[in-house]
């Protein structure tokens, strides 16, 4: 029996979600230091036969999905 999340996202996503939960549960001082390690501003583009698609900001995409 495999966990329910495997069919929805990859292990890396799972690790990042759990890491975020741990970071948010830390005490104030440690939390501030840890939050810096969780920052990412990655933007990506899908490419089809030599043409780039729109640039998507990953964090904005996630925020849009969850809202």
């Amino acid at each position: 029996m495999s966990a329910a999340w495997r069919s929805i996202f990859t292990y890396n996503k799972f690790a990042q979600i759990t890491a975020r939960a741990v970071r948010q549960s830390l005490k104030e001082e440690q939390r501030i230091a840890a939050e810096k390690r969780g920052l990412t501003a990655v933007r990506y583009q899908q490419w089809e036969s030599g043409q780039g698609g729109a640039q998507v900001v990953l964090s904005e995409e996630l925020a849009a999905k969850s809202s």
Binding site: A19, G38, Q45
Partner: protein
């Protein structure tokens, strides 16, 4: 450096004193000051950033080494589908960092003698490529644009975090690109003044499952992992490898930027010295002309 700045200031003051100096002399002197100060402050900024980046690189390398341990006994199928990930960044002014990685990728895809993949010369020139960093993307898009599967940017402005690497790995896995192994092309940190392009190979899930069949140890199979755990491990080790490559590439870039700024300030000071010579000659010629005018004028009275 400070002595030179005060010398320049003294020279500019001496130049301004006689009223016959050519116009724009004062402007030229202050411009020179500004140029020197800019270059040296950029150098200082680059040095502090380099120290920080190097520390992060040393920490990140441990991840890469741990990764390599896992794959030591994995089967190495030649001719397998390879996904190339080119690790560079978005910012310039760092010497040949981006072109070194782009050229190494080109050599690998062309199975050149000097390909960063030393043992493996069976690369398919139509292999999918993912590029991290706009600079390399622009360099590769013309020749290998049709191979591009995904590109990423906004990584490397500050020290890359594991979150960056995990996001890249996640997107690549989700995009459904088919591969048996991943080749990460990045810059290896050789010393504070030199770097070299290198390739890191990360095996995919299949290779992990089959590992132990051709080596003396039945190592991985002995763990009797479920398929799920093997898939997780493959994905996680991809993120690990990307992180190690990102951090090392970032350290190389910082050192290259510092060296480039160093060379630029050296060239700037050389240029300033020769311009100063020219300027003095011009000033003296102007003074001589005025003196001749005055003397001829006086003799006419």
């Amino acid at each position: 450096m400070l002595a030179r700045q005060s010398l320049v200031r003294a020279a500019s003051r001496a130049a301004v004193a006689p009223g016959a100096a050519p116009t724009g002399a004062r402007n030229m002197a202050t411009l020179r000051e500004i140029e020197l100060r800019l270059k040296s402050s950029m150098k200082m900024i680059a040095s502090t950033k380099l120290a920080k980046a190097q520390r992060a690189m040393n920490a990140g390398k441990e991840y890469g080494l741990a990764n390599a341990e896992v794959f030591e006994h994995a089967s190495d199928k030649a001719g397998a589908n390879k996904l190339f990930i080119v690790v560079s960044s978005d910012k310039g002014l760092c010497g040949g960092i981006h072109s070194s990685v782009s050229k190494a990728t080109r050599r690998a895809l062309a199975n050149d003698v000097e390909s960063p993949l030393e043992n493996d010369k069976s690369v398919d020139p139509a292999s999918p490529i993912a590029v991290i960093g706009d600079k390399s993307k622009n360099q590769l898009v013309r020749t290998y644009g049709s191979n591009f599967s995904m590109t990423f940017n906004q990584i490397g402005r500050d020290i890359p975090t594991f979150a960056d690497a995990a996001a890249v790995a996640d997107l690549i896995t989700k995009s459904g690109v088919k591969y048996d192994s991943v080749v990460l092309v990045y810059n290896k940190f050789v010393s504070a003044i030199s770097y070299a392009p290198a390739a890191m190979v990360v095996q995919g899930e299949e290779a992990l499952k089959e590992s132990g069949t051709c080596s003396r140890l039945d190592a991985f199979k002995a763990y009797e992992n479920e398929d799920d755990a093997t898939k997780d491990l493959a994905e996680f080790s991809l993120a690990n490898a990307i992180y190690a490559a990102l951090v090392e590439g970032h350290a190389c870039e910082q050192s290259a930027r510092r060296n480039a700024m160093d060379n630029a300030s050296k060239n700037a000071t050389d240029m300033i010295a020769s311009l100063q010579m020219q300027y003095n000659r011009g000033r003296q010629a102007a003074i001589t002309n005025e003196l001749v005018d005055i003397i001829t004028g006086a003799s006419a009275l």
